[in-house]
Symmetry: C2
Subunit: 177 residues, 2 copies
């Protein structure tokens, strides 16, 4: 995996492993693992940040627990819908999420997605790995423009976490304020 | 993938893709896809064939449908138990099963398993693909002795399918005759 040490702390890094059908996405956030994990698992929060800004998101189901399943739809200005679905193999609180992922438009394409949450002392590093069944599928994914959605989504997550930052009173329910 | 054309029709072939963390297992059965698929999805049948002869199998759950989950245990003569679990990403009747797979003893190891059922005209070819996240994980799996369990399991499945062959009374639930 190529690496540079000049990146900003909260820069999104998207790297293909050289000889494996794997994409690794690394990102740090100015919030502890509990809060980042919650933003990944609570559908009321997920819907506020996942994906590029220009698409509207609708969640049909998002049952983020061991054995749960999910489906959501991104919709553009023309009304065109892009649906995605999968199952949660494991949801290990504040540490790790493993799920399958399929774009409805290509039902035979299944990737295995792992997100690991590392505590950096009040900050969190999230390392996501997408495992596909061929180098071609990996490269098609890289060329699909997914990087825009990933980067913008994480910027939106920064905003969501920033908005929550001083609102410790309301942690038991949702986002607060 | 290496290939020989001298194999027997019902020979089990276990092949590692040269540069990918994938194991491909191919096997043909003297039964139509409906019956083979049922043996893969009905827990009362699965328990009769999956795994090597020397281990006793217990199924805790086996909900073979989109979004279902499973857990089963193999137990040896000493009483040592080996548990496995995962979720079904997709169960497409008589055609395809995609599921995750984890050995309880190594919870961070997750593979993505795809089984495709091909109709050969009364016979069926099953192609299984196990996708892992590293070449090392693939090679460890190959060296684990899994091939014995796979081959013996498929021989037991032959026996199960053979035993069912004249049992048209029970065909109303699934296969038809």
């Amino acid at each position: 995996m190529s690496s540079t040490d000049t990146h900003q702390p909260n820069e999104t890094r998207i790297v293909a492993e050289p000889d494996l059908p794997i994409i690794v996405i690394t990102r740090e956030f100015d919030a502890p693992p509990e809060r980042v994990f919650r933003a990944y698992t609570d559908p009321d929060l997920v819907v506020q940040w996942l994906g590029p800004r220009r698409l509207e998101m609708r969640i049909d189901r998002y049952d983020a627990r061991n054995g749960g399943s999910y489906r959501y739809v991104h919709r553009d200005d023309d009304g065109t819908e892009y649906g995605f679905h999968g199952v949660f193999h494991e949801v290990r609180p504040n540490e790790r999420i493993v799920q399958t992922f399929t774009y409805d438009g290509f039902p035979d394409g299944v990737s295995l997605e792992t997100a690991v949450f590392e505590d950096l002392g009040g900050r969190t590093r999230v390392t996501g790995r997408s495992l596909m069944d061929s180098i071609e599928a990996r490269d098609a994914m890289l060329k699909s423009g997914m990087d825009v959605g990933v980067r913008e989504g994480y910027e939106r997550l920064d905003e969501l976490l920033g908005g929550q930052q001083d609102d410790s009173a309301d942690q038991h329910t949702e986002t607060g304020s």
